[in-house]
Subunit: 201 residues, 2 copies
DNA sequence: TAAAAAATATAACACTGTTAGCAAAATTAC
DNA sequence: GTAATTTTGCTAACAGTGTTATATTTTTTA
């Protein structure tokens, strides 16, 4: 008399199918085009069935965000355990992080809200040139006066910008967060000081 | 007989009104809720009028992206000119960048596709703790073996993560871009090396 | 076999961006 | 000053979206 069990099993199968098909659509067509209707079509059920398994669309996406962080953590752990010395571990972790991000773009974009409409536009904005020119010129000067005058200014510019954008972007997401305004500034100062130190070394 | 001129003037006024009202809506309700219908309502014209001034909604947003970069460039230039020495200029620019980002969130979020749905979720993901724990533990070890054993591991973790996320995020946007795979790795290695160097100083 | 409960579907609501087709106004030509 | 033409703007629709109230069908229980 395993009727309840059978039903439970079936329910889980449908839920799994929703996630599976959602992932399939996301990887082939992108997160932007993923819709409840498409999922319903793919699993060959009507739309409201999806809402018996997930509160709303966001909840489906959230599931993948969680899974993404779970996978990322695993990869970072592996990277850590591949080395003994902590500085080398930091190096390995960084590379693992990159590998995960570019090897699992669908996850990373969802996890951090990237890959959205304006992204391709960034590179089309003429005004951006002015922006990068300002910074590159300063970096060039700094390099010339440094102990390493052969450093690549373009490379350093990207590193510098990454520090800035990375911090802004992460801190903006985490706005409810446990990071105080004071600490934010400290983090920035510390990072920039580190960058400059490495630059003029 | 300035009839053509008058028409031209009127046309420009309407276009300006579209941008003005769009900005008003974005700043009070957020980019996500900005719609063509809302703009049409605000300027007291019908919907198709908007399409005689802009090809589509993206074109309206693009206008603000451009303006955002323009303002940012200006601020960075000012920061640069406020100092003489290039290292201090880099410092001032970094602070100006931050000030712009957090003082003009609407611009920054649009420029870099931030503030989108999944953003608030990031901090709600339990799986994230595991992720941060891995890295923090390594950083803690590195600090203990460094010449500066009193450094704040949490602060350093954020700096480290910012470097990673900043680079991933910028490079993913710029995917058509002029940055080769080779260079990407070089930039990463360089940044991480700089971070570690500053960490164990 | 009939009643109750669970599972599933249809159809609608309130939105979105975008556009085809038509009405009104303004301009030009006679 | 009237008629034809161009410009301007609006109505209404299309094709989507997420979400839900309301039925219907199916399954289980009595």
């Amino acid at each position: 008399m395993g009727v309840a069990e059978r039903k439970q099993r079936h329910k889980e199968q449908v839920k799994a199918a929703i996630l599976e098909k959602a992932w399939q659509i996301a990887t082939t067509e992108g997160w932007q085009t993923l819709s409840i209707r498409k999922i319903a079509d793919a699993i060959e059920y009507s739309i409201p069935v999806i809402y018996t398994h997930f509160e709303n669309k966001e909840a489906i996406l959230f599931e993948f965000t969680r899974k993404g962080f779970s996978i990322l953590s695993e990869r970072l752990k592996e990277a850590k355990e591949s080395r003994q010395e902590s500085c080398q571990q930091l190096d390995a972790i960084a590379k693992a992080y990159f590998k995960f991000a570019f090897g699992n773009k669908e996850y990373y974009q969802l996890m951090f809200g990237l890959g959205m409409p304006p992204c391709e536009t960034v590179s089309r904005v003429a005004e951006m040139k002015e922006f990068s020119d300002v910074i590159i010129s300063v970096i060039q000067s700094a390099i010339q006066g440094s102990k390493n005058p052969d450093a690549d200014a373009f490379l350093k510019f990207h590193a510098y910008w990454s520090i800035l954008h990375g911090q802004v972007s992460l801190q903006m997401m985490n706005n409810n967060g446990n990071v105080s305004n004071d600490l934010k500034e400290k983090i920035l100062e510390d990072s920039i000081a580190g960058f400059i130190k490495a630059l003029v070394s």
